[in-house]
Amino acid sequence: MNYDITLTVNGRRYKLGVDPLRTLVEVLREDLGFTGVKVGCGKGECGACTILLNGKPVNSCLILAVEADGSSILTIEGLSKDGTLHPLQEAFVKYGAVQCGYCTAGMILSAKALLDENPNPSELDIREAISGNLCRCTGYAKIVKAILEAARKGA
């Protein structure tokens, strides 16, 4: 049996009927088409499916869609406004903090959550904030640089 839920994703309201066993990441990707939310492990270990749920970074594979009823969600697709990149996105491009790109969305959203709370983070603050987002390509240096730059620019 499906349950009716309401989600606000990237500022737009959606009314959905969902199977109570389905995870939030499944619904975001399969039903709503937000494939920028990635699946790397399905168990809350890699951080690729990170979204902001009411402003907090969460692994969307660990949350049932029905649990998110009434909440406000930001995915990577909602970060740039009117074609203007968010300073984090801009910095990630500028520093080449992107290789395969599979961790990028989660990485940027974890960084955004940090900067929303702490606009002047230290390098260690940044490393801690993204320590739940695994990246196998970059060695993290360019990612940390990009986040520091975005913070400097007042992201």
């Binding site: 066993l21 990707r29 937000f34 494939t35 920028g36 939310v37 990635k38 699946v39 790397g40 492990c41 399905g42 168990k43 270990e45 890699c46 690729a48 995915t75 990577i76 697709e77 970060l79 740039s80 990149l85 984090l88 996105q89 990630f92 491009v93 500028k94 520093y95 080449g96 992107v98 290789q99 395969c100 790109g101 599979y102 961790c103 990028t104 969305a105 940027i108 390098e123 260690l124 940044i126 490393r127 801690e128 993204i130 320590s131 739940g132 987002n133 695994l134 990246c135 196998r136 390509c137 970059t138 060695g139 993290y140 240096a141 360019k142 990612i143 940390v144 640089k145 520091l148």
Partner: protein, 781 residues
């Protein structure tokens, strides 16, 4: 435009906005979901498979087993691996059956309804035992398997030998007799995993004529095509492989067929498109792992530090099947043959079959494990002779023009510069604070040296009337930046802005042959193919332009879409003006020659598939801090000096170097697939299998990458391959630094706190180290 420029990856914008579509994100109309039933035993005879309950489960379209695909074997060089286990399972995680259903959940439920009877067989979980005389063969039909390209003539007369490779020069036994000192060591490396972040996925669709189209995130599209055709006994034109422009990492894990065969088998039977996406657990247990190595090294050295004889015996734990291990056995040896000039040398590498997960390609292709051993051994020798480790390496370094142990004259330079610069950047030989309470600091250095694969590559370049340059290549972009490098090279040749170059999606129905992204080969061979195809297209443009400008082709040049006479630049014509429409039908556009399509196939000189005379280098120096009371290691500083020949894109070389070191740290300190007594991997997840996080690498100022430039004549603009060598010396550099810090030699990776603590305990333990400090033996050096 052009080369030698630090440009962010051309697809970075798509990736930071979440617009980039990966194979994992794809769906086809009417698509089914495939799931795989896998063996729970390391070695067992299948006594029966009952699929009836699964077949009648709601939502299930079909179940496939070996019965549907008898004799469907594949492999590279040696076709020993069945698509589905035929009578016998040889490792935990081997496919036994697969289900296609309308939802992933229905497919998963059906898996539990498949009943498989097993009769357990004795399993070999130790490669040295597996190849001991008298051991039972894991592959009784070994001699009947199909072989191609690569075979070894060497028959050791031992059981369970999958492949053997040997390099021999001079007389090592005489060398040992003539040596002042003989140093013998044994090194081992754990089973580790590549861990690309996007799991393996394939979507297969079959039409009425049996043509199979597969969307996959492979890193070797043409090889997958070849393997599928061979396995299913169908002609080449029947299989089409499409790889989306974005692939979530590779690191060797996507070399060879993985999910594609299972997806095709299900789609052929279901007559519907089928998507097979592996779970993370399946990626760990059932794709491939990095071969665990056992390495014996015996060196004969003179007092002056010259190594005059070296014997190396390598046992590779190949697991149940060959996969690409046939090549790893030989290519892995480069970890010992590339760097040093040793008069008498003998390497014997034996790849053993065991009942472990399958050993495959992993960034470095087997050379990393060997380089850990060799570069640790260099320090052991240096210590015994009382010679500085950097100095010892310099005294044995192979120079340009000198013959390596395989009889090839080295054409590249760079090793010495990398080594000396890395030493300088870490402050080698300068005093530093070695002791701080229970913390001990040390420095280590190691040289990475690796030949790169040079197989053939083709490219097609099409010039459009809007002056767009389309490049058709089958090079996959795994995040390493293949498409960016291709675009830069095309922009360079046409002297056009990067934005005018479009790199088309890999599709074997359209894009030409390419061996695949393996062996640090892409920039070298694909780069050359693209460059030559650009020249071909340019020649066609110049031929037409010469007539229109009444000039000689030789006198023409072009820039930003304008072709002009070199000595009279105002005599010019735009590329777009070379195209015309047929007036009445508004058909076209056509040039006088029809389409402008340049093409080229690059085949490197020589018959070897390796550029044994060309070597890329990465010297790494590291400073570590060991907590003697816990055995834990912190990396304080990491230096990587890299020689990519000519860097086409220094930013991307730097990115490779940073990422490679991080992967090296993982292999050195953290990563290990733990096996229980049944050969089962007990930690197939990121909670229990630790890859480095942002907290496991040194802070920004303490990661230093420097790129040196030493052009290599045969490479495009002088470029060499760089993707693997950057990760190869990290483990040895760290082991050498730990030795410098606490005087204990670790010979197994990963060097976990427990292993370090135990090694300390054996050598008198933390007490000795602390006592040394109290006695004032520690302190500044």
């Amino acid at each position: 435009m052009g080369i030698k420029k630090s440009i962010p990856p051309i697809d970075a914008l798509e990736k930071v906005t979440g617009r980039a579509k990966y194979c994992f994100d794809m769906k086809l109309q009417g698509m089914l979901y495939g799931k795989v039933k896998r063996s729970p035993h390391p070695h067992a005879r299948i006594t029966g498979i009952d699929t009836s309950k699964a077949e009648s489960h709601a939502g299930v379209w079909c179940v496939v087993t070996a019965k549907d695909y008898p004799q469907a074997y594949y492999g590279l060089g040696l076709s020993d691996q069945p698509l589905f286990a035929q009578d016998v399972v040889r490792y935990v995680g081997e496919p036994v059956a697969a289900v296609a259903a309308e939802s992933e959940r229905a497919a998963e439920e059906a898996l539990h309804l498949i009943e498989v009877g097993y009769e357990e067989l004795p399993a070999y979980l130790n490669p040295e035992e597996a190849i001991s005389p008298g051991a039972q063969p894991i592959h009784p039909n070994y001699s009947r398997y199909k072989r191609e390209y690569v075979t070894s003539d060497l028959d050791l007369g031992l059981p369970n030998v999958c492949n053997v490779y040997q390099v021999k020069k001079g007389d090592v036994e005489r060398g040992f007799l003539e040596a002042d000192l003989v140093v013998e060591s044994r090194f081992t490396t754990a089973m580790i995993a590549q861990c690309p972040l996007e799991p393996h996925v394939a979507i297969a669709d079959v039409d009425l004529e049996g043509n199979i189209t597969i969307w996959t995130n492979t890193q070797t599209p043409y090889r997958v095509k070849h393997q599928l055709c061979q396995m299913l006994r169908i002609p080449r034109h029947k299989v089409r492989i499409i790889v989306p422009p974005h692939v979530g990492g590779g690191f060797g894990n996507r070399v060879n067929m993985k999910a594609e065969g299972i997806a095709a088998a299900l789609a052929l039977k279901a007559k519907r498109p089928v998507k097979v996406a592996f779970t993370r657990e399946e990626v760990f247990t059932s794709t491939t792992v990095r071969h665990p190595y056992i390495v014996y090294i015996k060196d004969g050295v003179r007092k002056d530090g010259r190594i005059i004889a070296r014997y190396i015996k390598v046992i590779l734990d190949g697991g149940a099947y060959a996969d690409v291990g046939y090549l790893v056995t030989s290519a892995g040896s480069w970890g010992a043959t590339a760097a040093y000039d040793i008069p008498s040398f003998h390497l014997l590498a034996i790849r053993a079959y065991t009942n472990h997960a399958v050993g495959g390609a992993y960034r470095g292709f087997g050379a990393s494990q060997l380089q850990f051993a060799v570069e640790s051994q260099m320090d052991i020798v240096a210590e015994k002779l009382g010679i500085d480790p950097v100095e010892l390496r310099l005294r044995n370094l192979l120079d340009r023009g000198e013959e390596n142990v395989e009889g090839k004259r080295l054409l590249t330079t760079g090793a010495k510069t990398c080594l000396l610069r890395a030493a300088e950047l870490i402050g080698w030989g300068k005093p530093f604070e070695k002791v701080k309470g229970g913390l001990r600091r040390g420095r280590g250095i190691a040289l990475g040296a690796r030949q790169f694969v040079r197989t053939a590559s083709s490219a097609v370049v099409r010039v459009l009337d809007d002056e767009t340059i389309e490049v058709w290549s089958s090079a996959t972009d795994l995040g390493q930046g293949a498409r960016t490098i291709i675009a830069q090279i095309a922009a360079e040749e046409f002297k056009a802005p990067l934005s005018s170059v479009k790199v088309r999606t890999v599709d074997t129905d359209v894009t030409p042959f390419e061996t695949g992204q393996a062996g640090s080969s892409t920039t070298f061979k694909v780069g050359q193919a693209v460059r030559l195809a650009c020249l071909d297209a340019k020649k066609q443009l110049f031929d037409i332009a010469a007539k229109r400008l009444d000039a000689c082709v030789e006198d023409l040049d072009m820039e930003n879409g304008k072709i002009f006479v070199k000595y009279e630049p105002e005599r010019s014509i735009r590329v777009s003006e070379l195209f015309t429409y047929i007036p009445v039908m508004r058909a076209g556009p056509f040039s006088e020659y029809g389409e402008i399509i340049g093409r080229a196939t690059f085949t490197p000189k020589g018959e070897d598939y390796t550029a044994k005379e060309a070597v890329s280098y990465s010297a790494q120096a590291v400073e570590v801090e060991v907590d003697v009371s816990t055995g834990s290691v912190r990396i304080l500083k990491l230096v990587n000096v890299v020689d990519p020949g000519t860097p086409i894109n220094p930013l991307l070389v730097e990115a490779q170097a940073e990422g490679g070191m991080c992967m090296g740290i993982g292999a050195a300190l953290l990563e290990e697939l733990k096996l229980d007594k049944q050969g089962r991997i007990v930690n197939p997840d990121f909670t229990d299998y630790k890859i480095p996080t942002a907290l496991d690498v040194p802070t920004l100022g303490d990661v230093i990458v420097e790129v040196i430039e030493t052009p290599y004549e045969q490479g495009p603009y002088g470029a060499k391959g760089i993707g693997e060598v950057v990760t190869m010396p990290t483990a040895a550099a760290i082991a050498n630094a730990i030795f410098d810090a606490v005087g204990v030699r670790l010979t197994h990776i990963p060097m976990t706190p427990q292993r370090i603590y135990e090694a300390l305990a054996k050598e008198g333990g933390a007490h000795r180290v602390l006592k040394e400090y109290e006695d004032g033996l520690g302190g500044e050096v």
